[in-house]
């Protein structure tokens, strides 16, 4: 490890880093703007200046930018040198010649990196007396606000948006002191990662527009470490609340999962928590639904729980605690997954593969570090956007790594590496039903029916492992593609194969497994990543419970069933006919959920439960990582509690057993672990609710939190006792332990002098590295070193059928989420439902784009406007899936179409 001298004190630092990274990792406060740990250095802002000395005798030194100097043995620098300090302060004065005096009215104030750096440099007096340059702002869409006068031209926005995220419509314009960052004209920002601009921008140029609807300063928020609810990746987030309203979501750093960035769905899709559509009262339906109080409910429940068969329908979006509590209530044999047969079958296959432990399943960080990626059928851009972003990094980083083999350049030298790499890229083969934005960076893109993609996958596996069968009657293009892809995968040391369940095809999962297993040897560590639909799909799948159709079979035979449905709008997961049938056959339907939906309409007893914002829960992501989401606020009437607490009480009622107190999530997990060995280790996910540091809790609120007495003074002048969180070591106050909490308990990032999100530097072992103490989450699948068992069945080639079409879904990043569309901006960006056919198929039906197409499936006929696509395989009809109000359909079946 190189040893450098900082102000004459020796330090051992990590080789390959630049001086800025080294100083920050050592806890030394050096200001910067344009450097970003995920994007490297460009040396433009000149803020990070230090003095560098030639040798021990040199006392004068010269100013150099620490972000552009590599550490090397015996290098001597000074951070405190007066010349360097004066220069750093001067940079701020220069920026202040044009920066408006907006702090009091600027959203960024209080979490502003520019403010922090200004104070850090000691600049305090502006000598500039001339006019400031001003700009016109642009409308950039419903999610991001634009206020260009605040710009300090650090170029971070375009580097993130264009270079990191591949966006095309944000750029830098003009020259000299007129440089402008925006679109070429007003319009919605096209990239689904645009929200990160709000965190990447060190000033208030780009800010969260949804936060503006209910603005609160960072220091006034109550925060909690939570888990994003919108897909299976389990990105870590920080939820911020005030006045009983969830107000913002920002990134919570986890180097293994989401790193520094979130997708717009996860960042902005939180308004459902505040929606008027929240279920606020317990309802009991006799002839009509009546709101009842808790006491009435508790008297009513025994009638429907005792002496009847109780079955539980679980949920892929409810916490594992709640699903477990339902299992305990109904009994293991009477607990069902609220998912279709096919979906359960697919997910079980994935669980089996991962449990067998023959293959490693990579984290998102490992996907970024892959040197070849094959996406087999899954539309990850829409179903797991941050995974698509990680795949993009893999492609760019692999190209940079090749460059570094030829020209010795450090990994932080962003611009130089990109210049040398030019258009070269790491290998990505993207195989999907429809074209995807990932195709642009793919060396190989193949579009086709799931079975055809699977056949290509099996042929690749055969070429990698000739004990596996070759594909019969393979088309020439298939053979060529398979040859090329297998050759590329063989050259890689860390190839990653990605598959999922959204196409409904099991063959794709089997093929992905065969490929990954075949690649494994002493020199090569492949990863096999799966994408599932929901934030706890993996958790639910790991229970191994039966599908909804099995539950339906029960109620069809048994007329005396009380069905307890946990946080699941069944119409979104199961075809409507089957669900209607189910409800008609149940004697009593108890539904626990957060928002009204078509399922809650059918409830005989409807119990409102806490959303992730008001309750704790553990969610297991697609890599089998169990992560805890902590509640950010408690609703004032403590009736709104987690589903598992209700279910536990219902179990107490049903089985007349009690442990005498409200159950903690810790206890639920302990029970889960005892009864289900596949969840072994899950109790380590977070410290227990009793954990304290020197007897103190960890405060959710900053020490500057204000208004605690005033905000409730309309109710009572004297300040009420702060709500107590019995389920976690966190408190709902600003009192408590002010040091660094364990990583899974970090409610917000702040450090003295670092009010903005850049404070995360202080929490990391090294900048851009893991959090101190390790990143949150416990991976439940372990590699066992077993020899893989391969799948041998290869499907036949897809061939269109006369008069019928193969029905497949297209998920939309904006629109297919059950909850994210409650945010106005996301709803505005969501498309209308539509059907897609190939141009040829449309012509054969005498239809043109825009015509209404009738699709007959699951005993219903649906009408949607038609769109045609040249790239689509004939014989397939695609319907947008999961949009508001749309029924779940039997994907992967043959359906009738007509005009």
């Amino acid at each position: 490890m190189p040893r450098i001298y900082i102000d004459n004190v020796p330090f051992e630092v990590k080789a390959g880093k630049n001086l800025l990274e080294a100083c920050l990792s050592l806890g030394i406060d050096l200001p910067y703007f344009c450097w970003h740990p995920a994007m490297g250095s460009i040396g433009a802002c000149r803020q990070c200046a230090v003095k560098v000395y030639k040798d021990a005798e040199d006392t004068k030194g010269r100013i150099m930018m620490s972000c552009m100097e590599s550490v090397k043995d015996d290098l001597r620098i000074s951070v405190c040198d007066p010349g360097a300090k004066a220069f750093r302060a001067q940079v701020i004065e220069w920026l202040m010649t044009n920066h408006p005096h907006d702090c009091p009215v600027c959203d960024e104030g209080g979490s502003c990196h520019l403010q922090d750096v200004t104070v850090m440099t000691g600049h305090d007096y502006r000598r500039y007396e001339f006019k400031k340059r001003t700009y016109t702002n642009q409308y950039l869409g419903p999610l991001i606000n634009h206020e260009m006068n605040r710009c300090i031209q650090c170029y971070r926005c375009v580097r993130f948006y264009r270079d990191y995220a591949g966006g095309k419509d944000l750029n830098v314009f003009s020259a000299h002191n007129h440089v402008y960052f925006g679109r070429e004209k007003d319009g919605v920002l096209q990239s689904p990662f645009s929200g990160n601009l709000a965190e990447v921008c060190p000033t208030g140029v780009f800010t969260d527009k949804t936060l503006k609807e209910h603005y609160t300063r960072k220091w006034d928020l109550t925060n909690a470490p939570a888990i994003c609810q919108h897909c299976s990746l389990g990105c870590n987030i920080i939820a911020g609340e005030r006045y009983g309203q969830l107000r913002s979501i920002v990134n919570r750093y986890n180097s293994e999962v989401n790193g520094y960035f979130l997708c717009d769905k996860g960042r902005f899709g939180y308004e459902f928590v505040n929606s008027e559509n929240r279920i606020t009262q317990t309802l009991v339906r006799h002839r009509t639904a009546e709101a009842v109080d808790e006491h009435t409910l508790m008297s009513h429940l025994p009638h429907i729980l005792i002496g009847h068969t109780v079955i539980g329908i679980g949920s892929p979006r409810a916490s594992i605690e709640s699903n477990y509590a339902l299992m305990e209530l109904a009994g293991k044999e009477c607990f069902y997954q609220g998912l279709s047969d096919n979906q359960v079958f697919l997910e079980q296959k994935i669980v089996d593969i991962l449990s067998a432990g023959a293959i490693h399943t990579p984290s998102l960080k490992e996907i970024e570090q892959a040197d070849a990626v094959l996406v087999l059928g899954e539309d990850i851009w829409n179903t797991a956007p941050i995974m698509a972003l990680a795949v993009r990094q893999s492609v760019m980083k692999t190209a940079a790594a090749h460059v570094q083999e030829q020209v010795p350049l450090p990994g932080w030298h962003d611009a130089a590496l990109k210049e040398l790499a030019q258009e070269s890229k790491g290998f990505l083969a993207n195989m999907s039903i429809l074209p995807s934005p990932l195709d642009e960076i793919a060396a190989c893109e193949v579009h086709g029916a799931p079975d055809d993609l699977a056949r290509l996958g099996f042929q690749i596996a055969h070429l990698l492992n000739n004990t596996l069968p070759a594909v019969d009657n393979a088309a020439e293009t298939l053979l060529q593609n398979a040859t090329m892809i297998s050759q590329q995968l063989l050259q890689a040391k860390h190839p990653v194969i990605i598959a999922g369940t959204s196409t409904g095809s099991e063959a794709l999962i089997r093929a992905a497994y065969d490929i990954a297993a075949s690649l494994q040897n002493n020199e090569r560590q492949p990863g096999l990543a799966f994408v599932l639909p929901d934030c706890n799909s993996m958790g639910l799948a790991m229970t191994g419970a039966s599908s909804f159709e099995k539950a339906l079979a029960i109620v069809q035979k048994n007329p005396d069933v009380t069905a307890v449905i946990l946080e699941n709008d069944l119409y979104r997961n199961i075809p409507a006919d089957l669900v209607d049938n189910f409800f008609s056959k149940c004697r009593q339907v108890v539904v626990l959920d957060t928002l009204h939906n078509r399922t809650t309409e059918k409830a005989d007893v409807l119990i409102p439960v806490a959303s992730f914002a008001e309750g704790d829960g553990t969610f297991i992501n697609n890599e089998g990582r169990a992560q805890r989401s902590y509640q950010v606020f408690m609703s004032p009437d403590k009736a709104l509690k987690e589903a598992f607490k209700w279910l536990f009480e219902m179990k107490v009622i049903r089985r007349a057993i009690s442990n005498g107190h409200d159950v903690h999530p810790d206890e639920m997990l302990a029970g889960l672990e005892r009864v289900y060995p596949q969840f072994k280790g899950i109790t380590d996910v977070v410290p227990s609710h009793a954990f304290r540091i020197h007897g103190s809790r960890i405060p959710r609120e900053s020490q500057r939190y204000s208004g605690r007495t005033a905000m409730l003074a309309n109710k009572a002048v004297s300040e009420p006792k702060p709500l107590q969180d019995d389920d976690s070591p966190l408190s709902f106050t600003m009192e408590g332990y002010r040091g660094m909490p364990p990583a899974p308990l970090i409610p917000y990032f702040w450090a003295p002098g670092w009010n903005s999100g850049q404070a995360v530097n202080k929490y990391q072992q090294e900048t851009g590295g893991a959090l101190k103490g390790g990143d949150p989450g416990i991976r439940l699948f372990r590699e066992t070193g077993t020899i893989p068992a391969y799948f041998q069945d290869i499907p036949d080639a897809f061939s269109p059928r006369q008069g019928k079409w193969f029905l497949l879904p297209q998920y939309q990043l904006f629109g297919s989420g059950e909850f994210s569309i409650y945010t106005k901006g996301i709803a505005a960006l969501s498309p209308e439902p539509r059907a897609i056919l190939s141009a040829r198929d449309a012509a054969s039906l005498n239809m043109a784009p825009g015509d209404q197409l009738s699709v007959q499936t699951d005993n219903r006929t649906y009408q949607l406007p038609l769109e045609t696509m040249d790239d689509l395989q004939d014989g397939i009809v695609i319907l947008t899936a999961g949009l508001k109000g749309m029924d779940a359909l039997s994907w992967g079946t043959w359906v009738n179409l007509f005009k």
Binding site: K168, D169, E184, K185, E423
Partner: protein, 154 residues
């Protein structure tokens, strides 16, 4: 739509470089040569032809002062305002032009005849003051010569 001539000229440039996007400055020059200036539509047409986004094209176009993103007159006067011309009296030349044409830097005559722009050193400092009108260079200019010079441009 780019014209065939424009496309052919751009295609020639594309043949010389490893990536199509590297010809964006050439493409802007070519289109400006044909159309006088670069409109928003031209930006989109060039973007489309080169397979890059309009923002990419405009990012480059707005950097360079000789790519005009606003309409210009039939003739563009580039008056050198750099140091040697400053010493040798460009200011009075500018005042005279302002008086004769009734426009200032950045403006176009109402009849679209001239656009008047400043330009950095034209590289003939030993014959200052100097200016260019379209592609023609005028050196050692006196105010008396201005009328004869301007007359040549309809």
């Amino acid at each position: 739509m780019l014209s065939t001539t424009e496309k052919e000229a751009i295609d020639h440039e594309i043949g010389l470089v490893p990536h199509k996007r590297a010809t964006v400055i050439e493409a802007l020059k070519i289109v400006q040569q044909h159309r006088g200036w670069i409109s928003d539509d031209s930006v989109e047409e060039i973007a489309d032809y080169l397979g890059i986004s309009p923002a990419e094209v405009d990012s480059v176009a707005t950097f360079y002062n000789l790519i005009f993103r606003k309409p210009v007159g039939r003739h563009v006067i580039l008056l050198c305002d750099s140091i040697s011309c400053y010493v040798m009296g460009y200011k009075s030349l500018y005042a005279a032009l302002q008086h004769k044409l009734q426009i200032s830097f950045g403006q176009t005559c109402p009849d679209d005849r001239f656009t008047l722009l400043p330009n950095a050193c034209l590289g003939c400092c030993d014959h200052a003051p100097a200016m260019m009108i379209d592609k023609d260079l005028y050196r050692d200019i006196t105010i008396e010569q201005l009328d004869d010079i301007l007359k040549k441009y309809a």
